[in-house]
Amino acid sequence: MIQFKALLIKEFKEAFRDKRALMVAMTMAMLAPVMILVLSKTMIKEMVATPPIYLNVTGESFAPKLIKQLKQNNIYPLSDVPEDIKNLWTERNIELIIPENFAEYMEEGRVITINLRADFSEKALNAPIRRIKNQINQYAQSIGAKRLIVRGIDPRILRPIQINDQDTAQPSSNAMFISLMLGLYVLMAAFMSGLSVAIDSSAGERERNVLEMLLCQPVSTFKIVAAKLCCASTISIIGVTLTLVLTSFSVSFVDLTKIGATFNLDLLMVLFLILLLLPISFFASALQLFVSFQAKSFKEAQSTVSMIIMLPAMIPVALMFIDDKPQWLDWLPVSGQSLLMDDLFKGIPINWAAFTGTALVTVGLTAALVIILSLRLKSEKVVLALS
């Protein structure tokens, strides 16, 4: 035990010596809250904002009430555009062409054709065009309903069936997109925060000839590996915790109620998430140690380990595309945790069996990696990077 303690202290000293490298590793934790904040703000703006739209209207005087309704909904003729955004809207040039016979056709109950001309492939115009169409359709529908009423017909007969959506999601569900992002980021944090420490204490030490020295000491290779693992995964857990704490702080700056959503990350949830990701942190570090010991040089270790980082990013995304998830996905590392996080954010009660299952499988795999690694470290092939 004393040996292990000494080893652990040595690893921590090494890890914390290079403060700048450590800071860089922790930036991952900073990145998530910032990204979530920025992305949600932009998304909310796009989802709720009905900024003024300026239309190049021809024949404005033929349909004054239609223009009035458009104005009520923040859609104005180009003549009203303020100077500072005049160029933008002149360039976008959404044209609404109201025919001269508008009044006549309206009176006679014929179909009036209004032309809406714009570059429909321009993405920035999608929302304005949709809003313009909605407003004109609403205006037309309300006239249509009144036409029926004044002919003694109940306009509701035009709508034989109405679908009433009944969503069974928990009312307390968190905003989907934030949950998705956060789930991804904490997994990434688990994999990335300990990364530099893992590579440095394996491939790095080998290149600095520290590893050889270490292996000469009368300690078991298992203890050496365990000390390295504990150090790297501690850093990884710090990264995860930081991500969660900072995110819960940054999300409070986003007014999600604007889009009818909410996001609550309370202490209990944070604790649960840390507990959930604890095995993953160990697993990630073990995997990284394993791979970098396999590599022949520090450089090679860096590039191979970077590939492993794709794992947490790919698995949750891939899971989104699988509609019928096979049971075993609940048990695998990364996918199991990812699915449990989904449930947690949706407010679904936690499936403790799956929780224990995935934790055991993850810990088991970690243990297997550690044992294999400590066996391999006995071979000089690994120590000297011979193949």
Partner: protein, 482 residues
């Protein structure tokens, strides 16, 4: 107040930070789906004594729903919505309220309670008989017998004297307590304002603030709408005359209205028409009372007012189809529990109406007092309960109160709001020029309420958005107008 829209909005709001989160242990509260709302809300029911003086006696169940705040972390005191009528069931209005009060629901739970006698709280429905013959029924033929049948039916299940305003408030406060809220904000619309005023008198300490929208003060009896509807109708005529297209299409609107009324005074018109929904041949009877009451209902909202000049003009030209279509649209309008309407109005309001008041109210150019008939007929036979004189005293309570009135309102004119404003020391009265009954039916009305709930100073409410509510405009031809 017979019209349903009248009662659309009545809420109790309370903003206190000390509001306790909805009591989780109250096992009666469970997730449920309400019509027209996609996400789940919370529903529950509470047993209360039918007669509060006999707590061991019969219990009745009070149905309620909570529309949870989107962001519950703010811990704002909830808003309790007091429905109108009397006779509207708040829970049935859930989808409507959820939509229009979206801004408020962002950080506040909204509590909806079916007043005893409505919805799923011992409902007092009366109108099964009349539902089928919407088109052949005329108000002039409304008979005592219908009322008597209804009374007999209701008496089997309900002790009528207990279905009064004060007991309703006792129920509401019991629900508040059961839900674990220390204080609530009240929103009352139409009769809901009356309920809110009674609440302020009975349980002032449970109320954080009050919004009275389209006020029916306790001291002004419900049921005399002659003068107020005349005022509302005259404003409509004036606005039509001022709008170029409307004036051009209907230059003699007032004369045409009088001509139709005279024509119908002499004889009831009976027509063979197609049923607006079924398409089958039916007989459509049109009398003066039916003509006026149909128009009267359209005066409640700026949307329906648009069609009034056209209806009058077409009726003048002896085309009654528009009127028929209009009656059809009222068919499924949110239901009124008319038994409760009569029970409350006949006992709490009609006894206060003197012959003098009736005569005065009849002297108007719109309905000529014909709107009194139904309440008079029903109330003559409706079982009485004793209302204490103290009930009619104006409510004086030092609770922040925002009072809203729509200038075009045919039933609760701004003068009503003035009355309440003068007795409530911490209140402010805002009149919306281009609103009719229920100011909160416009986005601006809700925005003002939301603003008020944030700071609770009725005088500081930002009313600039009132200028954005468009003036009413009218449909000038059978195919619409440009």
């Amino acid at each position: 107040m017979k019209r349903t829209r009248l009662a659309l909005f009545s809420f109790l709001l309370s903003i206190t930070a000390n509001a306790v989160l909805a009591n989780e242990e109250n096992s009666a509260v469970e997730n449920c789906h309400l019509d027209g709302i996609r996400s789940q809300v919370q529903c529950g029911s509470l047993n209360v004594p039918e007669n509060y003086n006999k707590p061991e006696g019969k219990n009745i169940s009070i149905n309620y729903a909570v529309l949870p705040a989107i962001d519950s972390s703010k811990n704002n005191a909830p808003l309790m919505f007091l429905a109108g009528g009397p006779g509207q069931a708040a829970v049935e209005l859930a989808a409507h309220i959820r939509r229009s009060f979206a801004e408020i629901r962002k950080t506040r739970d909204i509590i909806l309670i079916d007043q005893r006698g409505t919805g799923l709280s011992q409902p007092m429905l009366c109108d099964e008989a009349t539902k089928g013959n919407l088109y052949s029924m005329i108000p002039e033929e409304f008979s005592e017998q219908e009322t008597l049948d209804c009374i007999t039916k209701l008496k089997e299940t309900n002790e009528l004297s207990q279905y009064n305003s004060e007991n309703a408030i006792r129920d509401f406060d019991a629900v508040r307590e059961a839900l674990g809220y220390k204080q609530v904000n009240l929103y009352g619309g139409s009769y809901g304002t009356r309920a809110a005023l009674v609440y302020m008198r009975l349980f002032p300490e449970a109320i954080k603030s009050v919004v009275l929208d389209s006020v029916g003060p306790i001291e002004v009896p419900i049921g005399l709408f002659g003068l107020s509807s005349e005022r509302s109708f005259n404003l409509l005529l004036e606005h039509c005359a001022n709008e170029e297209s409307c004036n051009k299409a209907y230059p003699n609107l007032k004369e045409e209205f009088e001509t139709v009324v005279n024509r119908l005074s002499n004889q009831v018109i009976s027509l063979s028409v197609n049923h607006p929904r079924l398409g089958t041949k039916i007989s459509f009877k049109l009398s003066k009372g039916k003509f006026i009451s149909t128009l009267f209902k359209q005066l409640y909202s700026t949307q329906t007012r648009t069609i009034v000049p056209l209806i009058i003009h077409q009726a003048f030209l002896e085309n009654y189809q528009p009127l028929l279509g209009l009656i059809a649209t009222g068919e499924d309008a949110m239901s009124m529990y008319v038994g409760l309407t009569f029970n409350i109005v006949c006992n709490e309001d009609m006894p206060r109406v003197t012959d003098d008041m009736r005569v005065k109210d009849s002297k108007n150019s719109f309905d000529g007092g014909s709107s009194h008939a139904i309440f008079k007929t029903a109330c003559d036979v409706w079982p009485k309960y004793q209302v204490d004189d103290a009930f009619y005293k104006p409510v004086v309570a030092n609770i922040p109160t925002l009072i809203l009135s729509g200038d075009l309102d045919p039933v609760t004119p701004p003068s009503n709001g003035e009355k309440s404003a003068s007795t409530l020391p911490n209140s402010h009265h805002i009149i919306s020029k281009n609103s009719a009954h229920i100011v909160a039916s416009s986005a601006c009305g809700v925005a003002m309420i939301n603003d008020f709930l944030q700071h609770l100073d009725p005088k500081k409410v930002d009313q600039t958005c009132l200028l954005d509510i468009p003036a009413e405009s009218f449909m000038t031809s059978l195919n619409g107008s440009i």
